[in-house]
Amino acid sequence: MEKVIRFVRLHLGDGNEEVGRKEIEKSWIEATRVLLRYEPVDREFLDRVLKADDSTLALLYYRLHFHLIRRSGAWVHDGSR
């Protein structure tokens, strides 16, 4: 399990474990900041999405992480680490 945690942090931190840990927190913070605006959401869409198979949902989880991080403007994934 420790190995998986380290792997995930390295992937999301562009090879730097400590950065990866912060990036994971950052994407949750970014999502929370968006939701703080209390805009209407498409719940039908969410219900449909959640019916997708597990692999698709797991990949969507990763896609959303990178999507939110990219939109936050602080992008660590330039391969320089």
Partner: protein
């Protein structure tokens, strides 16, 4: 021309990149099992004709593809085990790189720093090499499952290079 004194300082990417000692171990400790050691050498195949008569192909792990092609899957934690075909007539402006894990800002300015397609077109025009295969090949180097990679991507690209594109020579470059 700028006077030497006013040139910008050293490129930060130069630091520690000369000869990159220990890169195999560095990457393998970050992504356990991602780096490979092979016990045996593959016997060399000799060129069958002069280079000026050879059809040359190019294979790259830089993740470049035509702008209107599907982007590579870069969010996936284990990588993308698909590859893209790039017409060998493509120009810098037709191409785009979707990949993390290595710096491609310079390649965005001039794709030939990592995928020298226009230089190869020139070598073919100058008859240094006979011709280019109609298509080149590209995939992303971030693949964390070497066995799966070997079984799918390596075999499929090798088969396409040899049987379908009928290459006499293959040039390859990682990113």
């Amino acid at each position: 021309m700028t006077a030497a004194g006013s040139l910008p300082g050293p490129d930060p990417r130069e630091a520690g990149t000369q000869l990159r000692p220990g890169l195999w171990h560095t990457i393998n400790s970050r992504y356990p099992g991602s780096m490979i050691t092979k016990p045996d050498f593959v016997p060399l195949v000799a060129l069958r004709k002069p280079l000026s008569e050879c059809r040359v192909t190019f294979v790259s792990s830089c993740g470049v593809h035509l702008k209107n092609d599907a982007p590579m899957e870069v969010a996936h934690p284990f990588g993308d085990f698909t590859f893209r075909r790039v017409p060998s007539t493509a120009k810098h402006g037709d191409l785009i790189i979707h990949q993390l894990k290595y710096p491609h800002d310079d390649a965005d300015l001039d794709i030939n720093v990592i995928f020298p397609i226009e230089r190869l077109q020139e070598l073919a025009a100058e008859a240094v090499i006979g011709a280019l295969t109609p298509e080149f090949f590209s995939f992303i180097g971030y693949n964390m499952d070497p066995e799966r990679f070997e079984a799918i991507v390596a075999r499929d690209i090798a088969a396409a290079v040899v049987e379908e594109q009928r290459a006499d020579v293959a040039l390859l470059a990682p990113a």
